[in-house]
Symmetry: C2
Subunit: 164 residues, 2 copies
């Protein structure tokens, strides 16, 4: 699926339990050049258009310190995606793959993740390159790229555990 939410040959939908195990709050909105699912990139690129991540109140003060990082992980809610497909046919050719072996927006919990380049912070707005989502996509989270981030808190025993 993906284009207009149709089911393609070979794809399998399930009757899933209601998504009521935990609740999300939209903490911002992402502004991109793409207003149609048929134009949006399959994958973001770090030399792509500059996009604006707007943080809503009361969360804007939580940006303090983000300018220390060059790469930021962005989590967003793929609000137009159906959630019930377990096998999907990305090429619409009858060949199917499991949802967890794809990065399609159609997932039981449609959370997108991107690793973006931080261009700048302007008040409650974070300018970035590397996104691949529709204009108006709800924001769920922002955090430093794991490769750049060193925990400030003291280590814990698990940090030193390796496979037996």
């Amino acid at each position: 699926m993906v284009r207009e939410s149709e089911i393609r040959a070979g794809e399998v939908a399930i009757d899933a339990p209601p998504p009521s195990d935990a609740g999300l709050v939209f903490i911002g909105r992402i502004h991109t050049p793409w207003t149609s699912r048929l134009m949006t990139p399959r994958q973001g690129r770090l030399d792509g258009p500059v996009c604006r991540i707007e943080i809503f109140e009361p969360w804007a003060p939580a940006l303090r310190g983000i300018e220390r990082y060059q790469r930021v992980e962005v989590l967003y809610w793929l609000h137009l995606s159906r959630r019930d497909l377990i096998l999907q046919s990305p090429r619409n050719d009858g060949a199917v793959r499991g949802t967890f072996s794809l990065r399609t927006p159609v997932r039981p919990n449609p959370v997108g993740t991107s690793l973006v380049k931080l261009v700048g912070v302007e008040g409650a707005n974070v300018m970035v390159q590397g996104l691949d989502c529709l204009d108006g996509t709800p924001l769920i989270d922002l955090k430093p790229d794991r490769c750049e981030f060193t925990p400030l808190a003291p280590p814990q025993p698990g940090d030193f555990e390796v496979k037996d």
Copy 2:
């Protein structure tokens, strides 16, 4: 905070709107060696203990094809975390940073992400190394690492757009 959900000197909590903008369904459970927040690693390591990601029905068939990848992105729900801190003091020394400049589990939407090494798939269980979460953590999503994944679907115009 993090240890036992206390608020530390300098930390700031907000009165946030209810988290009812979107709902999650727990699609599995993560089994790790760590049963206390005081033991759990701050960050996972790819040579760490093998952990088991159990997929619930009806989603197990969505694993088909995941064995093609060596690295998998795991999204999970940090179910014990408070969600109302915007400034946090990781060292408990009065110095604070914004939540979005930290990878702490305490976030408005406590979604953890890890990039793990795929060890094997056994029925509805995925064995991995590199996790850093508590035993019993609810699973939200699994997808191939973006670096290893090439979209199967045809490219879209946005894939070719670069900054002006």
